[in-house]
Amino acid sequence: MNGAADMGGMHGFGPVVPEPNEPVFHADWEGFSFALNMATGVAKLWNLDAFRFKRESIPPAQYLNLSYYGLWTTTLEQMMLEYGVATPEELAAGHAIPPVKKVPHAVTAAEVANMVRCGSPYDRPAPAPALFKIGTKVRARNMHPKTHTRLPRYARGHTGEVVRIVGCHVFPDSNASNAGEDPHWLYTVRFNGRELWGDDSDPTVRVCIEAWEPYLEAV
């Protein structure tokens, strides 16, 4: 969707402000928000793409005024409601109200180290040969789905070059709507800065994105 998260190329946000000696979390609740989201992922309550879609669906005025972990917590609440993990009454009360639905698996402390090391690979067996080769000129499609996509607005309609064939990966556009993993070939596509930003822009800039095959067409 063309939501507030699609920030590439936007102006007005001001300077990048690095914080010296920045802590990993700025407050306890942030750490908790982070850990909760990791744990719910392991419990397989929902998939990451669905979570991202929910997060980017936060109305732009709200999205842009929430802190990073504020976005995570807001999204987590909405996912819990949507997936029947919690009721509005429980969220308001701040505790579970029986009966409590069982989840497939709750991650234990002992499992955390392994969970962090293994992660969650997204590569899948290929359903068909890759369409594009390294060096192929491709154009990013001019698509504007209202649902989840990982093709940013700034790339759409522009022509770049395949510089890597990443592999066959879970397709977020499908997975986010729980329509299945629908794996597709994933490529790294490189664009010249001037192709993206105009003839007057910095000619030394190149921008790479990872783009799934359905986002691309041969030129």
Binding site: M1, A4, M10, G12, L64, H158, G198
Partner: protein
């Protein structure tokens, strides 16, 4: 600029919510913010393009969460301060602290109707000729200025047809930043919906924008 105001084609803002019997202004202060902005253009020596840039030139999160007249007031304060007409400490104090800056003219009550009726025509004489004619296919340039422009993101790079040759008009990209009026030929350019939104989108839609010649190149 690619700011929070460039909204065409963005998602997630929710439904349009018309208000039944909506008043012209929702609060007394809105009336004042509106009228002060109009009245200050004379002493400020500002033009509408400067005013528009002052409104859009803020963090997108601010732009989208401020109300319409909050943005007007913030822009007015900014322009008045930048023009040396008021200072931060005066705004904090709520009254004048330094002598006024001499201004060339102000809006007199007796002139309001006349000034409103005159409005702000932007057409200018020229001895140049328009490059494009009705029916020509043109491509909107992929420009991304940090400064003021009236070419929305959603048309950039796309091909449309010249529908009307409007005339030679003040060019906002220049006028907003002290570059003078620099009038350019202005056209209405019509785009097919699928050209803008994708081949699968509604083919019954056509979108027109009014675009100055520097925004366009011939489509091959």
């Amino acid at each position: 600029m690619n700011g929070g105001q460039d909204l065409g084609g963005t998602h997630g803002h929710g439904p349009v919510e018309p208000e039944a019997n909506e008043p012209v202004f929702h609060a007394e202060w809105e009336k004042r913010a509106f009228a002060l902005t109009l009245a200050m253009t004379a002493p400020g020596g500002w033009n509408i393009d400067m005013g528009r840039f002052a409104r859009e030139n803020r963090p997108p999160g601010e732009y989208l969460s401020m109300t319409y007249y909050q943005i007007w007031l913030a822009a007015l304060e900014h322009m008045a301060k930048e023009g040396g007409l008021v200072s931060d400490d005066e705004i904090e104090a709520g009254h004048s602290l330094q002598p006024p800056k001499p201004v060339r003219r102000i809006l007199l009550p007796g002139d309001v109707a006349k000034v409103l009726y005159r409005g702000g025509p932007t057409e200018r004489d020229t001895n140049t000729k328009p490059i494009f004619g009705v029916g020509d296919r043109v491509r909107a340039k992929n420009i991304n200025p940090l400064t003021h422009t009236r070419l929305p993101r959603y048309v950039r790079g796309h091909v449309g047809t010249i529908e009307r040759v409007i005339g030679c008009h003040v060019f906002p990209d220049s006028n907003a930043h002290g570059g003078g009026e620099n009038p350019q030929w202005l056209y209405t350019v019509r785009f097919d919906g699928p050209e803008l939104w994708g081949a699968d989108s509604d083919a019954t839609i056509k979108v027109s924008v009014d675009a100055w010649e520097p925004y366009l190149s011939p489509a091959t």
